[in-house]
């Protein structure tokens, strides 16, 4: 199925190197979650909330994901317009609906965009190197690395299964509508488990887990951009804490 995608892969240089260290990205995810998603600090941090809402979109631009950036940005802008111009004029059911949509989009979308950026730009070995530098034990790091490896696999399996169901006329609109979820999950779990088993056999023969200390050829380190984000994060935090103390 992916024959052509593969072929295209031949011609495109992949994996543009990210300018942020994986540790900075983790910090970024944390800050996005606290400031934008959980809207900590309330009114006082509104400027910072704005900054951290825009920042993920700028990051997408740096990795040339213009399309995702435009679509997500468009959705966010539309919803914000709704919030400022339409929201005051509606009542009842419509108001409740609008509140839900506005909350979900303005809070979750920036965090989601950050997630897209991090996933797209972080190699598994970079992530592993970062976790090692932070002295996180292998028991936590390795399962997380396997997850990185497994997302694309699950996606591939899922696509094939979806195609098979469509071909056999099983779907919400067709035969056996009540069992669609089961039919979809069973082969997916079976296939993923099989791949997982083969994968661990292969990893064992190549010495995964042999020595306590492993090397990593991936170089990670902080640059100017990392420090800028640190400073920004620090200012946000200090300003927030000051607010809490002085109240």
């Amino acid at each position: 199925m992916q024959n052509i995608l593969r072929k295209r892969g031949l011609l495109k240089v992949e994996g543009q190197k990210s300018f942020l260290d994986p540790r900075t990205k983790l910090l970024l995810i944390f800050i996005e979650a606290v400031i934008v998603l959980a809207t900590a600090g309330g009114e006082r941090l509104v400027v910072f909330k704005a900054i951290f809402t825009v920042l993920p979109f700028l990051l997408l631009v740096t990795i040339r994901k213009y399309k995702t950036c435009l679509i997500a940005g468009g959705i966010l802008l539309t919803v914000m317009c709704l919030e400022y111009f339409v929201f005051q004029n509606v009542k009842g059911m419509a108001e409740a609906m609008l509140v839900i949509v506005i909350t979900i989009v303005t809070r979750f979308l920036p965090a989601y965009v950050t997630g897209v950026f991090v996933i797209q730009t972080t190699k598994v070995s970079e992530f592993k190197a970062a976790m090692e530098k932070m002295h996180i034990p292998d028991e936590i790091t390795i399962p997380m690395c396997v997850m990185f490896r497994f997302f694309p696999t699950v996606k591939e399996e899922n696509e094939s299964i979806r195609a098979a169901m469509k071909m056999r006329g099983i779907g919400f609109g067709g035969k056996k509508a009540s069992k669609v979820v089961e039919y979809r999950l069973v082969p997916m779990i079976a296939c993923s488990a099989k791949i997982g088993e083969e994968l661990s056999a292969a990893a064992l023969t190549r010495g995964l887990g042999k020595s306590r200390k492993r090397t990593n050829i991936c170089k990670i380190g902080f640059g100017i951009c990392d420090y800028l984000i640190f400073v920004l994060a620090a200012i946000t935090m200090i300003y927030w804490i000051l607010g809490v103390i002085m109240r």
Binding site: N3, E14, K123, G169, G207, L208, K210, R214, T215
Partner: protein, 482 residues
């Protein structure tokens, strides 16, 4: 270097079945040995005993003595063998721990905690030796099966093992990829590595192997040394249930067919050509984004026949089938029995058996699987179909618990049950041994006799030889070199 003395083995999962019985053999350093035989003959087990996956990963009972590199295997844990023995596995999708190719090459060395500079130097050497510069720094998920297998070989090579085991490495490969793999094995041979290959498809390694050992139900039935190899013919292969010795490119078969040289064309009488109506494709197109993958101006496929669709890697053969059966929406017309079908209408008329049958078996029992495929559920009829395909004894089994070949038969049973007139198959015989391949061929012939049109995408020249009536080449697609 490697010595087996009266080795018997059975897996704990099935203790009554002897996988290896009284195997004794000795392999010298630098030898390249090919192990072959039908599925379940014990060739993969032999390799697993050497690389430590037995007993670390698969448990079983072993008797007899196996020594590797002068040490009894019971003294070696799986980790002691890392860097001494390297294994390339069958499934290209399931032997990667990383998502990008460069990290993957470094993976084994990193696990051994080698210094960084050493790892990078080793990677450089391997990349140059194997000519895989183009594959570096790439997303593994976007490589073809053949390319993935090259990366798997390279990631073993950076560990510089003395012994290299290959467990059916070419099961899912086309002719072009197998010749690439052959080159890599030759590089190892020149470096003086000891190489053990377990494989059904023997043609691509036949002449580089120093020795061929044929196994049958766990016993060595024939040991062919270098000078005997020339006298071993295809006739003898059939006796031992082996795949053909000669490697034939399916693309060459098309050329022959065009020139009227093949037997098929000769056998086909004019009358036949006239009476059989055609399934017509016109302006059949599909593109991913701006890249046109499939562009067929006009293609005729004779109804009620078995047609093989061939083409080099990356010509969108699988995509073609997916469009044909309507899973992918595309532009183009299919005319069948004088009626035009669009993508949606085709979904109801065409059944597709996918390359990995795991993806299309959903239910809890084989019988139920067949039942949901029927337009009107009819248990007696379903049982009849299962009987026809020798599946009666598995009626109540969970499809996922069956063997690969049996799963494929279940998928074929569903195809018959669906009563759809056109059947598509995607590489139905990749990784099958001779017996199973012939089985599939005979089922297909039966289905044809029921008045169905069968279209197979395949790179298996033997399958084409045995059961296909016609052969069509999917044209090189345009715009690929953007």
């Amino acid at each position: 270097m490697i010595r087996f003395e009266h080795v018997n083995f059975s897996y704990d999962a099935n203790p009554n079945e002897k996988i290896l019985s009284d195997v004794s053999l000795e392999i010298a350093g630098g030898e390249c040995v090919l192990f072959t035989g039908g599925s379940g003959c014990g060739k993969s087990t032999l390799l697993r005993l050497l690389n430590g996956l037995i007993p670390e990963f698969y448990e079983g009972t072993l008797s007899g003595r196996i020594t590797v590199l002068g040490k009894d295997i019971s003294q070696n844990g799986i980790y002691d063998l890392v860097g001494k023995i390297g294994t390339v596995f069958q499934n290209p999708r399931a032997q990667f721990f990383n998502v990008d190719t460069t990290s993957e090459l470094a993976f084994g060395c990193e696990n051994l905690a080698m210094p960084e500079a050493e790892i990078l130097a080793r990677i450089d050497m391997t990349v140059v030796d194997f000519h895989i510069e183009k594959l570096m720094n790439r997303d593994i998920f976007k490589l073809s099966g053949g390319e993935k297998q090259k990366i798997a070989c390279a990631s073993i090579d950076v560990l510089r093992p003395d012994i290299i085991l290959l467990d059916e490495p070419a099961a899912n490969m086309d002719y072009e990829s197998t010749s690439d793999l052959r080159q890599l094995i030759q590089i190892w041979k020149q470096e003086g590595k000891t190489i053990l290959i377990a494989e059904h498809r023997i043609n691509y390694v036949w002449d580089i192997a120093d020795r061929v050992i044929i196994l049958d139900r766990g016993m060595i039935t024939k040991n062919i040394c270098k000078n005997e190899k020339n006298t071993f013919t295809d006739m003898m292969c059939q006796k031992y249930c082996l795949r053909s010795l000669s490697s034939v490119s399916v693309l060459d078969m098309v050329e022959k067919e065009k020139q009227g040289l093949s037997n098929k064309t000769k056998n086909m009488t004019e009358a036949n050509l006239v009476t059989n109506p055609k399934l017509e494709l016109t302006d059949f197109q599909y593109s991913y984004g701006n890249t046109e993958v499939i562009c067929i101006g006009n293609m005729d496929i004779t109804e009620n026949r078995i047609t093989a669709v061939v083409g080099p890697n990356g010509t969108g053969k699988t995509t073609f089938l997916e469009c044909l059966c309507g899973v992918r929406k595309n532009i183009g017309k299919l005319k069948f029995h004088g009626k035009d079908y669009d993508s949606k209408a085709r979904l109801k008329e065409i059944f597709m058996v996918m390359q990995d049958p795991n993806h299309q078996l959903f239910t809890e029992s084989v019988l139920e699987e067949v039942l949901i495929s029927m337009p009107d559920e009819d248990e007696d009829k379903a049982r009849e179909i299962l009987k026809e395909l020798d599946l009666s004894e598995f009626e109540e089994r969970h499809p996922m618990s069956l063997s690969g070949g049996q799963k494929q038969r279940v998928a074929l049973a569903c195809a018959i049950a669906s009563e759809r007139k056109i059947l598509l198959l995607d590489e139905p015989t990749s990784g099958l041994d001779l017996t199973h391949m012939l089985e599939v061929a005979s089922i297909l012939k039966k289905i044809k006799e029921q008045g169905r049109t069968i279209i197979i995408v395949t790179h298996d020249s033997e399958l084409i030889e045995v059961c296909c009536d016609e052969i069509v080449k999917l044209g090189e697609t345009k715009n690929l070199a953007v």
